[in-house]
């Protein structure tokens, strides 16, 4: 584990542990409170496993009222709270703190209402993303956002992170697919934002909450939109001899007015890794491989796939397969979907990055990543949601070697800085968490960050909800002169500066 600065530990809270644990028993069943070391160990990290910290205690409430009582108690007693869904987040957003209660929403695991008339599902936040689709697919419906962890990740976590997936270009991310939430604020206030209508009047609080990484409220219920499955779906598997050709083809498809349901690109390193792992039958001579998925009516899809194959030929494609049925289509995807475990098989550890870039900069960024790979002497494989410009470089390393871990993190940070330099973003769908906190000043200046902190302060004035994530004003930013820490009284009074 590399050194990570976290908010100052409130020793008084830590020393009151037994008292706090016994107080918590007033608000939920005794069995829902975990405080012994062996019980809380599973909660010490999320999917950013390089960082670990055991919390003061873990509480697993079962009802909104229980959540409200627990938060109110913590608010009155100045105890920090870390909300947690399924713990699949990749940016350390659910990393516990030594002096904080970890509030797990795992027992909120029921779908409350399937409302086909209003084309929505009302669900508790602990239900998995895929669980929603499973509940409605018998009538031909599905929930559109499909993060790769959809089998395990919870819908509440999806809201907190504004999760995307491979189909975001056409169908949007979580924020475009939810209608309402029930939320508990840090002082215990329960409120409903939105419902079953489109949009809401007044400030778009739902839009603010979505992607706020558990800093503004605890989500206890979500209403999501469901869509009818498209009639026909086909995919093309296309190889290109150079990165430039692949990149140009992406831009060309979009410029021709085609909006694919999904458009994925894998580089040579990932093609080799996944092919060995999943035996997907990917072409051996391709420098980059593209999967383009199109959906709609049958003739429309047939027409689009023809257009895509013509565009690909114009861009020097050296191999092409077009799916004739779902079995073939899913076979195209099998390698891509195995990308992460395939990298896991190649090195003891891999570090999954998540930056966004303008589509047109694809070949440029891939070249820069390859240069960085040589500089740091660490192998990297690249998966890319090319349709929406979301890049996932997977850096392979050995976590038991501290020096390698340090180098890996530096490598990752350089990639993200390059994304911002090329007009992209630090994170496309994994969130800032603790992982990219130090890089916020690459995207934002002091005023931008201060405005966001003002919002945080207005809804959680004691800074108790998931503190230390996303926003602290940072040593690095300050040192490099991009963020000026001054007039400290305007900022969070308790905000750690490091």
């Amino acid at each position: 584990m590399t050194e990570l600065a976290l908010p100052k530990i409130d020793k008084a809270t830590v020393s009151r542990k037994n008292l706090i644990v016994s107080d918590l028993k007033k608000f939920t069943k005794e069995e829902n409170i975990l405080s012994e070391n062996d019980e809380i160990k599973p909660y010490e990290t999320d999917a950013l496993a390089a960082y670990k910290q055991t919390p003061l205690a873990v509480v697993l409430p079962e009802t909104t009222e229980e959540v409200s009582k627990i938060l109110k108690y913590c608010y009155n007693e100045n105890i920090k709270v870390i909300p947690r869904g399924a713990g699949t987040g990749l940016s350390g957003g659910a990393l516990p703190l030594q002096d904080a209660i970890l509030l797990g929403l795992g027992k909120f695991n029921k779908i409350l209402e399937i409302d086909f008339e209003n084309k929505c599902v009302v669900t508790q936040p602990g239900v998995t993303n895929l669980g929603i689709t499973h509940a409605v697919q018998h009538k031909g419906y599905y929930y559109a956002p499909d993060p790769s962890s959809q089998l395990a990740c919870s819908i509440g976590g999806n809201v907190a992170e504004n999760s995307g997936g491979v189909h975001s270009l056409k169908y949007g991310t979580t924020t475009n697919n939810i209608l309402g939430v029930e939320m508990v604020m840090m002082d215990g206030t329960i409120t409903r934002i939105g419902g079953k209508t489109l949009d809401q009047e007044g400030y778009d609080i739902l839009g603010l909450l979505c992607g706020s990484e558990g800093l503004l409220g605890v989500i206890t219920e979500v209403t999501v939109k469901i869509l009818k499955k498209p009639q026909s779906v086909r995919a093309a598997l296309i190889g290109f001899p150079t990165i430039e050709d692949g990149g140009n083809c992406v831009s060309d498809i979009i410029s021709n007015g085609i909006v694919p349901a999904g458009m994925e690109i894998m580089d040579k390193a990932l093609i080799d890794a996944t092919d060995k792992f999943a035996k997907a039958g990917y072409p051996k001579d391709a420098e980059v491989l593209m999967i383009v998925e199109l959906d709609g009516t049958k003739s429309e899809v047939d027409d689009l796939i023809k257009q895509v194959s013509e565009i690909a030929k114009r861009n020097n494609s050296n191999s092409m397969k077009l799916s004739k049925n779902d079995k073939e289509r899913l076979a195209f995807w099998s390698g891509r979907k195995a990308a992460f475990p395939a990298c896991g098989a190649m090195a003891p550890d891999y570090y999954c990055m998540d930056g966004s870039i303008p589509r047109g900069k694809l070949s440029l960024i891939l070249k820069e990543i390859n240069q960085l790979s040589k500089k740091y002497n660490l192998a990297v494989a690249n998966a890319f949601h090319a349709g929406d410009g979301n890049l996932h470089p997977l850096i392979m390393f050995d976590g038991s070697d501290k020096e390698q871990l340090r180098k890996t993190e530096e490598f990752g940070a350089e990639i993200l800085k390059a994304c911002v330099k090329h007009g992209g973003a630090l994170t496309g769908e994994h969130g800032v968490g603790i992982e990219k906190r130090e890089l916020m000043c690459e995207s934002f200046n002091n005023n931008d960050i201060q405005q966001q902190l003002n919002i945080k302060k207005s809804l959680d004035e004691k800074n108790l909800l998931n503190p230390g994530k996303v926003y602290p004003i940072l040593r690095k930013c300050a040192e490099e002169g991009r963020v000026h820490v001054h007039r400290g009284e305007e900022k969070f009074p308790d905000l750690p500066r490091f």
Binding site: D115, K119, L169, C210, K228, G296, L426, S443, Q451
Partner: protein
């Protein structure tokens, strides 16, 4: 001192209307009004000035000089503009490149002044009123990739960027859309743009039967045929308080002037339109209705008329905008049918209703229904003798409390458009 800085230092608070032409000038003006605690009305070009409560501010900030397209990247599907850029200018350049704003901006000019006036991009974003394609492609807020603006202290702030996927920090683009200029003065907006579909048709289904109409909406919503607009235009009530405009507005060769009708739009290339139409005929059991089809030359202006709210052109009555869960459509139709002049958009979710002057108690009745059915209601246009005591916008106490806090975090002295949406904000 740069030329810009010299200009800024000359800004005085003597005049009552400011017309800044740069972001720095906006920031300078706001810093000054902040130090003097002077409330200010923030406007794009003023095309939607009469929405919300009338303001009593002595000073006005008009952004129409802060205009121009900064960057249009067709292949990256975005356009970045200064906030005061006329919406028409954006639509024109997109159209030339076979692209569009998918949320179909509404032209409120007909309602307000009797002719087209789409106003500025900033003004449009600040209101977040999406047109007919809303239920399919999202609202205005779903199409904002990023913005720059000035908060109530005069600090220039930004959020988002130009890429579709961006979860760096809070998504402030969502907050500023629909905030009616009460949070920040927008200076720059990046909008997501979409390719235009090759062609379109509109199928007109005639029926007076409310149950059948709401069933059609439901089946369209449930269909995978991607119907991109569905509106119900009822026959106008025989009541002198309303002007009869329907026949004049919806005058098309292939549209029967008599009676109520539901129109739905299919977009795509010709083969796909035909394929969808064939499928929808079965799905919606269209043979049991009298129907007609508007070709692309009629379909395009048809939806413009819907989105221009042309049946309410120049009305002196109240205009209400109500959004309800789609399953409540039939109930709402029952309440309104034959009594009000109204029409339905967003495939059964959005109702535009005209209530005659001096009939404010009817607004109460409608609002009660909408709230009870978990929807919301906005009174957009007020008649001469408007005397409705309740709020123009809908909100509950907890959300008002949260909204006040958010407002304070942007505009601590409450200077921007005070009381525009809610008296307390």
């Amino acid at each position: 001192m740069s030329i810009e800085e010299k200009k800024n230092s000359q800004i005085s608070l003597d005049s009552n209307t400011y017309l800044p032409s740069s972001e720095n000038e906006v920031a300078e003006i706001i810093k000054k009004i902040y130090s003097k605690k002077l409330p200010i009305e923030v406007l794009g070009s003023g095309s939607k000035k009469n929405f919300g409560y009338n303001l009593q501010t002595a000073k006005t900030l008009n952004l129409s000089n802060l205009s121009g397209i900064i960057e249009y990247k067709k292949e990256e599907l975005y356009i970045k503009v200064k906030a005061g850029t006329p919406l028409e200018e954006v639509e024109k350049i997109l159209d030339e490149n076979n692209q569009q704003l998918a949320f179909e901006p509404i032209d409120f000019g007909y309602l307000n002044k009797g002719n087209s006036n789409k106003g500025t991009v900033g003004g449009y974003v600040a209101c977040n009123f999406a047109g007919s394609r809303r239920y399919k492609v999202g609202s205005v807020r779903d199409h904002i990739l990023g913005f720059r603006g000035v908060n109530g202290k005069g600090d220039i702030i930004k959020s988002g960027g130009t890429v579709v996927k961006n979860v760096t920090g809070y998504d402030l683009s969502k907050l500023i859309s629909g905030s009616f200029g009460t949070l920040a003065v927008l200076t720059e907006i990046t909008l997501k743009v979409s390719p235009k579909k090759q062609s379109q048709i509109t199928v007109i289904t005639y029926s007076e039967d409310i149950k059948k109409i709401s069933n059609l909406f439901d089946k369209i919503l449930s269909s995978s045929n991607e119907v991109s607009g569905a509106t119900f235009i009822p026959e106008e009530p025989n009541n002198k308080k309303y002007e009869l405009t329907k026949r004049n507005v919806f005058k098309f060769n292939d549209l029967d002037q008599e009676g109520s009708f539901l129109g739905f739009r299919i977009e795509g290339n010709k083969t796909s339109i035909n394929e969808r139409l064939k499928d929808l005929k079965k799905e919606l059991d269209l043979k049991s209705f009298k129907t007609s089809v508007l070709d692309v030359y009629q379909s395009v202006p048809f939806w413009q008329k819907v989105n221009n709210l042309e049946i309410f052109t120049n009305t002196k009555n109240n205009i209400l905008r109500a959004v309800i869960p789609p399953a409540k459509c039939e109930l709402f139709l029952k309440l309104l049918s034959k009594k009000y002049k109204y029409f339905v958009d967003w495939c059964g979710s959005l109702f535009w209703i005209e209530v005659a002057d001096k009939e404010d108690e009817k607004i109460n009745l409608i609002k009660k229904f909408v709230i009870e059915n978990n929807g919301y209601l906005t009174i957009l246009k007020k008649s001469e003798n408007f005397d409705f005591k309740d709020t123009l916008f809908t909100i509950d106490e907890t959300r008002l409390m949260i909204s006040k806090k958010i407002k304070e975090s942007f505009d601590p002295k409450g200077l921007f458009n005070p009381g525009k949406m809610y008296r307390e904000i």
